[in-house]
Symmetry: C2
Subunit: 219 residues, 2 copies
């Protein structure tokens, strides 16, 4: 990684150039799978065959991009938590943070969305892994902060992430002025889910309590 030596240093530099070239070519009308090895190499200022000194495949480059995207997402979550500690609604701040992410990293988010339902099982697995991390951290938070049943917390986290990602997808095709409304709607939907989860979690507790009591009484 931090290998010094003029050679290894230069190698990592051009490797980055390849990664950045690929990222730079992504757009709303250009998906990763539509990029050719030659295009990426050219954009990076390399001869086509030099590509192989860094990746054996376009797929290998792609998986690297997905990893980077996941990393960016997790950094984002840390930012969100910092904001929450300064006070404010968890749901509201999470949504706003996510929307900012999409404004600043539209193409990375597009990459995740597309490869999630793409043609490579490896890609799909990689994206889903990143989303799972994302979900599990939210799940932990919910379980701890709201004292929810583990299953209920997971279901809520999963549903919330789904809703937020879908809203993000809509945001990509949205006029900037409609973004505010979209965020507000998303927040309301998340509140529905939170409320519903809370009620169900509660009922389970009540049942457990009731069962305990009846056990005691039947002794």
């Amino acid at each position: 990684m931090a290998m010094s030596g003029i050679r290894a240093l230069q190698k990592e530099k051009t490797r980055r150039q390849l990664i950045d070239a690929a990222l730079g070519q992504l757009s709303s009308e250009r998906s990763f799978s539509s990029l050719s090895l030659r295009e990426v190499a050219k954009e990076a200022g390399l001869a086509p065959t030099s590509f192989y000194r860094h990746f054996s495949d376009m797929d290998e480059l792609g998986l690297t991009l997905v990893d980077e995207a996941g990393l960016t997402l997790r950094q984002l979550m840390r930012q969100a938590r910092q904001r929450i500690e300064k006070g404010g609604s968890v749901i509201q701040i999470s949504v706003l943070t996510f929307m900012e992410f999409i404004e600043n990293n539209g193409n990375i988010f597009r990459l995740l969305l597309r490869e999630r339902s793409g043609t490579s099982a490896a890609f799909r697995a990689a994206v889903n892994r990143e989303i799972r991390y994302f979900t599990l951290e939210l799940c932990d938070y919910l379980q701890q902060a709201n004292k929810l049943d583990a299953e209920v917390a997971y279901l809520q986290a999963n549903a919330a992430v789904t809703i937020v990602f879908s809203a993000g997808s809509d945001a990509l095709d949205c006029d900037k002025k409609d973004l505010k409304e979209l965020a507000l709607r998303t927040i309301k939907q998340l509140r529905f889910i939170a409320r519903g989860a809370f009620e169900f979690g509660l009922r389970n507790d009540v049942r457990v309590e009731a069962r305990k009591k009846s056990k005691v009484e039947s002794k």
Copy 2:
């Protein structure tokens, strides 16, 4: 459409062959955008250049496929309504119907998922239009059956469709035995949403009532 005449009849027949050839080549590792005009023509038993007698573009064929997929989806909804009239939970039956759809039409559903976040604005618009129909019909149903506020009903319908589509996406990469659990989890999530929407809808009603009262009282 129903034009007879030996010629027009034959034309429609080979047009269908093209459509079916395209649909037939879709799979988990083959997306529409990765199909070539030549492949599709070959699969349909046509010379490459004959393709142009029916579609000016692969894009035109693709949009036709999206329309067909939307049609299939709406037929599905009708089936679901029939089942509901025979009794049973709306949510449960809707989810089960959707899961059946995916088992029987995996590749059509994949088409929708992929083109929804694809590289063609026209495709994205077409898919979103189909999903909007789907959502609005559910919205009407909720508004009428549960007497919900229009906005709340829409938010619930939108969230529910998002959750169900996402579950469908998961179902595509799922072992068959895990499908049952996935369906159960999805049903619970939809109940969260329904419950939350109900509570919020209620609160709005209460507020409205309260405002009416206070108006009356202040007279």
